[in-house]
Amino acid sequence: MSVPAARRAVDLSNLRGGIPAVMAHERLLPVHPVLAPLFGVAPGDPGLVRGHTVVCSGSAALSCALAVVAAPTQVGSWAGVVGLPSVGVSAAAELGVVLSRTVFVTGASSSSASSDMAAVISALVDGVEVLVLSRQVVGSVSGGVIRKLHTRLQSRGGVLVVVDDPGSVTADVRLAATTTMWDGVGAGNGHLQRRRVSIELEVRRRGRPTRADVWLPDHRGGLSMCDEQSSGNVSSGNVLPLHRTG
């Protein structure tokens, strides 16, 4: 039985009247204060739109993804990390990820079939607000699963973070993190202290990308803004290279 289009439009508008209208950009998760300007919000304000898919790429993709995960876990959200058995937990902790609310799922990564992986992801998406997947995991499941996952995320209000661009997902937010330089090591002296990373953020259908230079990680392992004053060498005093004697 077909309903006339005009009638249907009236019905729909009646239905919508009952639901308080919440725009997508009002359902937000917090972002790291340093990343906030990239997302177009003031530092401290939430800026990560629930239901979005964030794809991190470039040579600093993993650190960048961990920095995105950190802020939501600090306010009580749970994070699920699937298919990244070698993620550096210490680095995650230094970036501010709350480990007691971060679940690492590894069992199904290699041995089980892709259908199991799809089941794991869809079970996890119901419980965690931030889901971190590796490129291999995304590549191992079919496009239909990813589309369903996307729908589920939007209704649940979660965020999907993909480490390394698999090319097969539609990214709402693209974060390209490229290492510019490493600071702190010379020829046999010093130690790795901080990395200057150029982050380019592109939101789908939102015009030109925004760009910023950050220290990721900085000398304490965290994420900090890279302003011109601090771009000099962080180590104070003269570091003399060691020479072999005797």
């Binding site: 470039g58 040579s59 600093a60 993993l62 650190s63 961990l66 009580g76 959200s77 749970w78 699920g80 058995p85 070698s86 993620v87 550096g88 937990v89 210490s90 680095a91 902790a93 230094e94 480990l99 007691s100 609310r101 971060t102 679940v103 690492f104 799922v105 590894t106 069992g107 199904a108 089980s112 199991d116 794991v120 079970a123 996890l124 998406v125 119901d126 419980g127 965690v128 607000e129 490229t178 290492t179 490493w182 702190g184 090591v185 010379g186 020829a187 046999g188 002296n189 010093g190 130690h191 790795l192 202290q193 901080r194 990395r195 990680p217 900085d218 000398h219 304490r220 392992g221 072999r244």
Partner: protein
């Protein structure tokens, strides 16, 4: 607080290895019920020997051994999987038989019963007479349950015998029952604080964890403090115990001196806490009953969680349409969380409905009555601390994922320290964290946090290879760089070779030698370097390690 009331006099019937007896009663899988008592037998729990028969013990099988070790020690040992439901079902006839004399029984666990003796002793004419009657009744219950081919006495000896003890308080009575097994006759400890204290004094403090549900870590600490026996702890002043251990010290002192067997913080439960479910349609199916019980238990669990309390003793009552009832009191010294409580309800209902003396109609009423509550000392708070809606959703999702990939595949990170990025955090299965409330350790932070000497300073690598990748670090002449025993590199590294190509080294730092655990077989000598290499997409930083002349890529600063 200093007023100490003598705990009520208690009798305990105890079988040390009930799972063995239950396994034999149930018929050992694949071997039929014809079990010869001289055959060594052991029950496995979590792939380790949980308990073993005296014959197996004589052949060298010990609790805690792995399956292979046990088979190595005694090749013809019969290994049976642990099954708590079976234990509880088989214990039901014994409980019922003892219940004909003493209706108010507390079941501590399948294989162990306790009861207050004040009424029964007067009825049968003294504690000594009571112990004899209890032993006879337990034996009679066992005989009715086993097939006629098995001799109940031989069966009992498989499980290490049966002991009956009477003393002031549950702890002393349990120890008396254990002592009775060794003596071969019931043990009655004279009433009064002095006699109880004298009886308890020679027991090792390890019994506290086995009998009173004290933390193993606490017992270990007591032992390291030189307090090896109950008497040593009881000899200390209670004030000193409180100074050192807080309220726990007070509890401990009362326990070991026999003046009390419940925590001083035990609270009388509010009278309206009884929780009941009436079924309009009588329920005959076991699964549906357990499902209904689960909702009751969850409701109780929520109440206790909100109050920060934990239930240590609960009465479970079920009634059928024809008025038949099953009433059992369950006790667990360390407190029952939801899953422990539902286990006990299930054991009781299973033993009743699927047992020999099954009810003739469907169940119409199910009642849970918490009898003893104490403040939750925080052990139960555990992992699911915040209890927000997000936490509940996460707990449900995690349970599902655990069902899909197995408990070992779902982990959280727990700090355990170390100088190697691979060993700083240990991945703990969420099943373990959830089950016994073990807390996830956080890395100590702040200016006073102790630092691991020899650890690589911050920042930490974002990608850690738990299986290190074999690489080569070459110098300008294409020779492999080596690190001498004094910690010097043979030449500056210039090139890093991985299996797919070589990259130029831009900068390097190190070497930082480590020499760990030289005193045992886990000894490790290595030296680490940080390398910044020129990759196709910009500089990349690696942590490499040389050990016995072989270079390994340990971590990447991704």
């Amino acid at each position: 607080m200093s007023v100490s009331t003598q705990p009520p006099r208690c009798a305990v019937v105890h079988t040390p290895a009930w799972p063995l007896i239950a396994a034999v009663m149930n018929g050992i899988a694949g071997r039929g019920p014809e079990y010869a008592p001289d055959q060594p037998l052991a029950v496995l729990r979590s792939q380790r020997v949980y308990c073993c028969s005296p014959v197996a013990w004589r052949d060298g099988v010990r609790p805690g051994m792995r399956r292979r070790q046990a088979q190595g020690a005694c090749p013809h040992v019969v290994l049976v999987a642990d099954e708590p439901d079976r234990d509880a079902r088989c214990f039901e006839p014994v409980a019922r038989s003892v219940g004909t004399l003493v209706p108010l029984l507390d079941i501590e666990s399948p294989g162990s019963l306790s009861m207050a003796t004040r009424g029964p002793s007067r009825y049968v004419g003294g504690d000594a007479a009571l112990t004899v009657r209890l032993a006879d009744l337990a034996m009679a219950g066992l005989s009715t349950a086993v097939a006629s081919r098995i001799d109940p006495v031989a069966l009992l000896s498989t499980g290490g015998g049966l002991g009956v003890g009477v003393a002031d308080g549950r702890l002393a009575a349990t120890l008396a029952a254990r002592h009775a097994i060794r003596r071969g006759e019931p043990v009655v400890v004279e009433p009064g604080p002095a006699a109880t204290a004298a009886f308890l004094a020679p027991y090792p403090v390890a019994a506290l964890s086995a009998v009173a549900g004290c933390d193993v870590g606490l017992v270990d600490l007591l032992q390291r403090l030189g307090l090896r026996r109950f008497g040593d702890v009881a000899a200390l002043s209670p004030h000193h115990m409180v100074d050192r251990f807080g309220s726990l010290g007070h509890t401990l002192h009362r326990l070991v001196s026999g003046t009390d067997d419940t925590a001083p913080s035990a609270l009388p439960p509010p009278p309206d806490l009884t929780i009941a479910r009436l079924f309009d349609d009588p329920v005959t199916q076991f699964d549906m009953l357990v499902f209904a019980a689960k909702s009751l238990v969850d409701e109780l669990g929520r109440y206790f969680t909100d109050c920060g309390q934990v239930c240590t003793r609960v009465r479970v009552e079920a009634e059928t349409e024809h008025g038949e009832t099953s009433v059992r009191v369950w006790h667990r010294a360390e407190g029952m969380n939801e899953s422990a409580m539902i286990d006990r309800v299930r054991w009781q209902l299973d033993g009743w409905i699927n047992g020999d003396d099954r009810p003739s109609a469907g169940v119409t009423k199910l009642v849970l009555v918490p009898l003893e509550i104490r403040g939750d000392a925080g052990t139960q708070e555990g992992f699911w601390g915040g209890r927000t809606a997000a936490d509940d959703a996460a707990a449900r999702a995690i349970a599902r994922v655990m069902g899909l990939v197995g408990p070992a595949g779902v982990t959280v990170a727990s700090w355990c320290g170390g100088r190697d990025p691979r060993e700083q955090y240990r991945m703990v299965s969420l099943a373990d964290v959830g089950a016994d409330g073990a807390t996830v350790c956080e890395r100590p932070t702040g200016p006073t946090a102790p630092a691991w000497s020899g650890a690589i300073p911050t920042p930490s690598p974002a990608l850690v290879h738990h299986q290190p990748v074999s690489v080569q670090v070459l110098d300008a002449d294409d020779r492999v760089v080596s690190v001498s025993g004094r910690g010097f590199v043979s030449a500056a590294p210039v090139m890093l070779c991985r299996e797919h190509g070589r990259v130029a080294v831009l900068a390097w730092a190190g070497p930082w030698p480590i020499e760990e655990r030289w005193w045992d077989e886990r000894a490790r000598r290595a030296a680490r370097l940080q390398l910044v290499v020129q990759a196709s997409d910009g500089p990349r930083a690696y942590l490499v390690e040389v050990s016995s002349g072989q270079w390994w890529l340990v971590a990447e600063y991704a």
